[in-house]
C-alpha cells in the first residue's frame, strides 16, 4: 500500500528486517504489530480493559550482567536482546560514526561463529534479527522459534565473549556502512533531516552535537585496533543487559544464561564522559540547502526536562497534545487549517527512539515538509501561536484525558507487540538506565498525576522560543526557477 505522506522512520542499523517501532507514547499509529493469543485459553468472552501487566524476572550475574526474563506463551517464539550501554554520543572524537560501524562488526565473526554464521544461524532456524545504534545503547536482537532459545543464548554469549575480525571484514563493512549513509542521507531528499542536523545545532556538548552517522573520512580511518579497544572498553557483561522474552521457562532460562554468559569475565568499570547540556537561553537557527528536495521543510526542537521529573511527564503529554494524531494542536493548525503540509512528525527522541529509551539530555524534535508557495516565516508564526496559546491558556481536563487515552493505548502497543520488540526495548533500557525493569508495570503512575497546571507551567519553561533550535531546509531550486 502506498502512503500519501510516508516519511520512513530512520533506521540506523544493520538491516531493516523488522519494523522496530518501539513507540511508547508518540508513535505513528499506522504500524500495528501486536501479540497474538493462539494457544492460551482465551475462551473467556469478557473484555479486559484493566491494567495490562507484564511478568518480569530480574537478576544480575556475578560478572555484572543484568538479566531480564519475561514469560509470554502467546506465540511459540522467543525474543532475545542484548543491549550494551554504549551509544553514538560516547564514541571517540576522531572516529565519528564508530559506534555504529562497530555494531556491524558484531556480525562479522566471534570465537565460534565465523563471518555471516550468526545471521545464518538465526535465519536457518526460522528467525529474524537486527541491530541498531542509538544515543545511549547499541542493541542486538533476534526473534526465533522458542525451541531454539538455548541456541541463541549461546550465540549471544559467544560474541560477548570475544570477536574474531579480519581486516578484510572491517574493510567490507566500511563499504557497507558508507553505502548505508549514501542511501539514507547523501542520495536521499531530506536525507538525515532533521534527525542528524538538529542535535548538532541544539547541543553544545560535542558528545551530543556531532555527526552520529559519521564522516565518510572518519569511517575510512577506523582500524582493527579501534575495534579491539572499543570492544574491550564497552562490550563487557558489566555494561550490558540480556532480555529474554517469550515462550520460555524462566528457571530453565536462568540455567542457560548462567552456563553461557556466567563464565565471561567482567571488564573494568566503564567510565562514561560528561554528556550534560546547559540550559539554552537563546533561540538558534540555521539554514540547510538540499539540492535533492523539491519542497522546503522545517525541523525544530526543544530541550526536554530531565527524565522522570514531573515536568518530563508533562512534556511527554505535551508531545501528544502538540503532534500526536489529527486532533493534535500543531496538526489542526498547520495541516488542517492552514494547509502548509500534509503531516507533522514529532516526538521526544524522535525518530530514533521514544521518551523512554535514552539516558541523558534529549530533544523533542519535529519535522514538516511544506509547500513552496508558503514562507517559512508564516509557518513559524503559526507554530509560535500554537505554543503561545498553550502557555497562556493551558489545556482543559478533557484534552488532557484524551491525551491519557492515547498514551495508554500506545503503551499497550509497545508492550503487546507480537514480536516483543517494544517489550524487550522497554525492559532493557529500564534495566540498563534505572536498574529497575519492574517499572514497566507502573509507567502510567507518573502520567496519571499530571495536571493542566503542570502542563501549562512546563509549556512556559520548555516551549520557550529561547529553548528552541530551528532549521529551514530549502530546495536548491527556488520556485519559478525550473
Amino acid at each position: 500500500m502506498k502512503s500519501a505522506n510516508s516519511f520512513k522512520r530512520q533506521a540506523m542499523g544493520l538491516f531493516v528486517t523488522l519494523m522496530a517501532t518501539t513507540c511508547l507514547v508518540a508513535c505513528s499509529p499506522s504500524v500495528d504489530t501486536h501479540v497474538s493469543e493462539t494457544s492460551k485459553a482465551s475462551e473467556s468472552t469478557s473484555v479486559k480493559t484493566s491494567a495490562f501487566s507484564v511478568p518480569v524476572e530480574y537478576y544480575t550475574l556475578d560478572n555484572g550482567l543484568k538479566v531480564v526474563v519475561s514469560e509470554d506463551h502467546t506465540v511459540p517464539t522467543t525474543t532475545i536482546a542484548v543491549y550494551y550501554n554504549i551509544g553514538f554520543r560516547i564514541e571517540p572524537r576522531d572516529r565519528t560514526g564508530f559506534a555504529h560501524l562497530f555494531e556491524h562488526m558484531m556480525f562479522q565473526g566471534s570465537e565460534n561463529l565465523g563471518k555471516a554464521e550468526f545471521i545464518g544461524l538465526v535465519n536457518s532456524n526460522g528467525g529474524v534479527l537486527n541491530g541498531s545504534t542509538r544515543f545511549d545503547f547499541t542493541n542486538y536482537f533476534e526473534v526465533v522459534p522458542s525451541h531454539t532459545t538455548e541456541t541463541f543464548i549461546w550465540a549471544e554469549a559467544d560474541r560477548m565473549r570475544g570477536l574474531d575480525i579480519t581486516q578484510e571484514n572491517l574493510t567490507n563493512q566500511q563499504g557497507v556502512v558508507k553505502n548505508e549513509v549514501k542511501v539514507n542521507v547523501l542520495n536521499q531528499p531530506y536525507g538525515g533531516f532533521p534527525w542528524l542536523d538538529l542535535p548538532q545545532l541544539a547541543n553544545e556538548n560535542w558528545h551530543n552535537a556531532h555527526n552520529f552517522y559519521g564522516e565518510l573520512s572518519d569511517l575510512d580511518a577506523a582500524t582493527l585496533e579501534d575495534v579491539d579497544s572499543f570492544f574491550d572498553q564497552f562490550y563487557a557483561p558489566n555494561n550490558a543487559v540480556v532480555v529474554i522474552a517469550g515462550d520460555v521457562d524462566p528457571a530453565q532460562t536462568k540455567e542457560w544464561v548462567e552456563k553461557y554468559f556466567g563464565t565471561i569475565p567482567a571488564g573494568p568499570p566503564v567510565q562514561l564522559p560528561d554528556i550534560s547540556e546547559n540550559r539554552q537561553d537563546g533561540e538558534k537557527r540555521s539554514e540547510k540547502i538540499d539540492k535533492l528536495a523539491p519542497q522546503p521543510a522545517l525541523g525544530w526542537a526543544y530541550h526536554v526536562p530531565e527524565k522522570w521529573s514531573p515536568e518530563w511527564y508533562a512534556m511527554t503529554m505535551l508531545d501528544i497534545i502538540l503532534a500526536n494524531g489529527k486532533d493534535s494542536r500543531l496538526y489542526q493548525k498547520l495541516v488542517q487549517e492552514k494547509g502548509y503540509g500534509s503531516s507533522i512528525n514529532a516526538g521526544i527522541n524522535w525518530p530514533l527512539g521514544n521518551a523512554l529509551n535514552y539516558n541523558g539530555p534529549m530533544l523533542w524534535s519535529a519535522f514538516m515538509v511544506y509547500g513552496n508557495e508558503h514562507s517559512a516565516d508564516d509557518v513559524i508564526a503559526d507554530i509560535d501561536a500554537v505554543v503561545a496559546d498553550l502557555q497562556t491558556n493551558g489545556v482543559d481536563q478533557a484534552e488532557l484525558d484524551r491525551a491519557m487515552t492515547k498514551m495508554r493505548s500506545g503503551l499497550y502497543d509497545t508492550l503487546g507487540d507480537g514480536n516483543r520488540i517494544g517489550l524487550v526495548d522497554t525492559l532493557a533500557t529500564l534495566a540498563l538506565f534505572e536498574d529497575n525493569p519492574q517499572k514497566i508495570n507502573s509507567l502510567m503512575d507518573g502520567f496519571d498525576v499530571v495536571t493542566p497546571e503542570l502542563i501549562q507551567k512546563t509549556a512556559q519553561e520548555y516551549l520557550r522560543t529561547t529553548n528552541r533550535s530551528l532549521i529551514t531546509l530549502k530546495p536548491a531550486q527556488s520556485k519559478g526557477d525550473k
Partner: protein
C-alpha cells in the same frame, strides 16, 4: 587475523568436545542443538456475509485490550481509468469529515477511542483502518461506516487536500527509489494502471470535487467490501454494529476485472541523476500470478529474499557494494512480478549487476545444497509465525488470501507445502520463471559516470 578474546577457563575446554572428527588447530564449539519444535495454532476465524454482499471476518486475538477494525474495499488505482490517482484523491477527501462530522470532530472521536484512522489506497484496494481500545470496537465500526458510506466531501477542503497530494507526488518523484519503481512498473505493465505509479505532471490540478464525488459513488459499495475485526472485542456488540451500520448499504458494483496482458518487452532503462553517489537498480520480470504454491517464494528467498540470501551475501557481505539489497515479488490482482532491488555505490554499478546475474544463472543451473534447502524451509515457516503474530499481521494475511483467492485452507496447508520442497523445485522455478534474457533493468544514477561499466552487459539487454 585479529582475535579479540576474553580468555576464560571454559574457552580452553573446547577441544575435548568432538573427538571423533579430525580436529582443526582451533576446534570450534558447535551451537547447542534446537529442542523439538512447538505447535503453532492458527487463530480461530469466523466468516459471514451480509445480504448486500459485505463480507465479515472476526478473529479473537492478542493479549492486550485493543482491536483492529479494517474495511478493505476492492477499489484502487486499477479503477482510476485515465485519471491516475483519482482513487487517492477520493480517499484523502474521505478523511475530511463524514456523517455530518467535520474532520476535526472525527479526529477527536478517534482519539477518544485511543486509536487512529487511516485510509490508504493500493493498486487494487482501499484500506480504511482503525486500531482502537477494545471497548471501542463497535464505535470504530460506526465511524468507518460513516467514512465509507457518507463522506462529507467538503468543497472548503478540496483545494488544500489536492495541493497536498500534488506536493506529495513531487516529493515522491524526487526519491531515486520511487523513480526506479515507477519506471520499472511502467515497463512491466504497459497500458495498464499497474504501470502508472504517479499522475502526469499537471494532471491532478485538473481533477475536480465532482470527479471525486462521481468516483466515490461509482466505486464504493457493499459488494466490494470486506470487514476484518481482529483483537480483543465483544463479538456480539461488534456483529450487531456491523449489521446496523453496513447492512443497508447499497451493494454497488462488483470488483473490476481488468486483465493485465503479458505484453512486456525487456528493456534497459537508464535514468540520469547527475552526481548521485549511488545507482538505484531494479532488475526483474513478470511471473505467474499467485496460486498458493510455494516453489517460487522459496527460490526467491534463497536468491535475494532474506538476509542470508545469495545475492545479499555476495554484493553486501562479500563485496560491500550495497547496504540493503533485496529481491521480492510485487503482487497485484491478476498479475505479479519478481524484482531485485539494490542501491549500489556508483563505481560498483556494473559489477553489482554482473554479480546479480551470476547468482540468477547459478540458481537456474545448479540445485541448492540440502543445507540451504533446509534453512529456507525453516525460515519460511518461522516467518509465517512471525507474520501472524499481530492483529495487523493476521488481518493482512487473511486479506491477501482473499484478494488472490488462495482458498480457506491456504494458511492451514502452508507449512506442509513448505516441508515438501526439494532442491529440484528451486532450480525448476528459476529456470522456468527467471530467465535474465527476458528481464528489464532500470538504473537510476550518474549515467555518464557509469556508462562504461554497463558496456560489457550490453549484449544481455536490449538497447534503450
Amino acid at each position: 587475523m585479529k582475535h579479540i578474546l576474553k580468555t576464560t577457563l571454559s574457552s580452553l575446554a573446547i577441544g575435548v568436545l568432538s573427538s571423533s572428527v579430525a580436529i582443526p588447530a582451533f576446534a570450534k564449539e558447535a551451537p547447542p542443538a534446537p529442542a523439538t519444535p512447538r505447535n503453532f495454532k492458527l487463530p480461530k476465524v469466523s466468516n459471514y456475509t451480509l445480504s448486500n454482499g459485505v463480507k465479515v471476518t472476526l478473529v479473537p486475538y492478542g493479549r492486550v485490550p485493543k482491536a483492529t477494525v479494517r474495511a478493505v474495499v476492492d477499489v484502487g488505482n486499477i479503477n482510476d481509468g485515465d485519471m491516475t490517482w483519482i482513487s487517492d484523491l477520493t480517499a484523502a477527501m474521505m478523511e475530511e469529515g463524514a456523517g455530518g462530522k467535520s474532520a476535526a470532530e472525527l479526529a477527536v472521536g478517534v482519539s477518544e477511542m485511543g486509536g487512529s484512522l487511516n485510509i490508504g489506497v493500493g493498486l487494487n484496494q482501499t484500506f480504511a483502518v482503525m486500531d482502537v481500545l477494545a471497548d471501542s470496537a463497535p464505535d470504530a465500526v460506526s465511524m468507518l461506516a460513516d467514512v465509507l458510506q457518507r463522506p462529507n466531501l467538503p468543497e472548503s477542503e478540496f483545494k488544500r487536500v489536492r495541493d497536498g497530494l500534488i506536493r506529495n507526488v513531487s516529493v515522491g518523484k524526487s526519491r531515486p527509489q520511487s523513480i526506479a519503481d515507477s519506471k520499472f512498473a511502467e515497463a512491466l505493465y504497459p497500458d495498464h494502471p499497474y504501470g502508472r505509479s504517479f499522475p502526469e505532471d499537471g494532471a491532478l490540478e485538473t481533477y475536480t470535487l465532482n470527479d471525486v464525488s462521481a468516483f466515490h459513488a461509482a466505486n464504493f459499495g457493499g459488494a466490494r467490501t470486506h470487514i476484518y475485526v481482529v483483537g480483543k472485542f465483544d463479538a456480539d456488540k461488534v456483529k450487531s454494529a456491523i449489521k446496523e451500520q453496513f447492512g443497508s448499504w447499497d451493494a454497488g458494483p462488483q470488483p473490476l476485472d481488468l486483465p493485465s496482458n503479458l505484453n512486456e518487452q525487456r528493456q534497459l532503462i537508464l535514468i540520469d541523476r547527475p552526481g548521485a553517489p549511488q545507482s538505484t537498480l531494479r532488475l526483474g520480470k513478470r511471473v505467474p500470478v499467485m496460486d498458493g504454491s510455494v516453489e517460487l517464494d522459496a527460490m526467491n528467498t534463497l536468491l535475494g529474499g532474506y538476509f542470508s540470501s545469495r545475492i545479499t551475501r555476495n554484493i553486501r557481505e562479500d563485496k560491500g557494494y550495497s547496504y540493503s539489497p533485496g529481491s521480492s515479488f510485487r503482487t497485484r490482482f491478476g498479475a505479479r512480478n519478481w524484482q531485485q532491488n539494490a542501491d549500489v555505490s556508483a563505481e560498483s554499478t556494473g559489477p553489482s549487476i554482473k554479480e546479480i546475474l551470476k547468482e540468477i544463472d547459478l540458481m537456474r543451473s545448479e540445485p541448492p545444497s540440502e543445507k540451504e534447502v533446509d534453512g529456507i524451509k525453516n525460515y519460511m515457516n518461522g516467518i509465517f509465525v512471525i507474520q501472524l503474530a499481530s492483529r495487523g499481521g493476521v488481518a493482512n494475511q487473511l486479506a491477501r488470501v482473499n484478494l488472490h483467492g488462495l482458498g480457506t485452507d491456504y494458511l492451514e496447508n502452508y507449512v506442509g507445502k513448505v516441508q515438501g520442497l526439494t532442491a529440484a523445485d528451486f532450480t525448476a522455478a528459476a529456470k522456468k520463471h527467471l530467465n535474465p534474457d527476458d528481464m528489464t533493468l532500470v538504473v537510476v544514477g550518474p549515467i555518464d559516470d557509469v556508462r562504461a561499466q554497463l558496456e560489457p552487459l550490453k549484449d544481455r539487454f536490449a538497447a534503450e
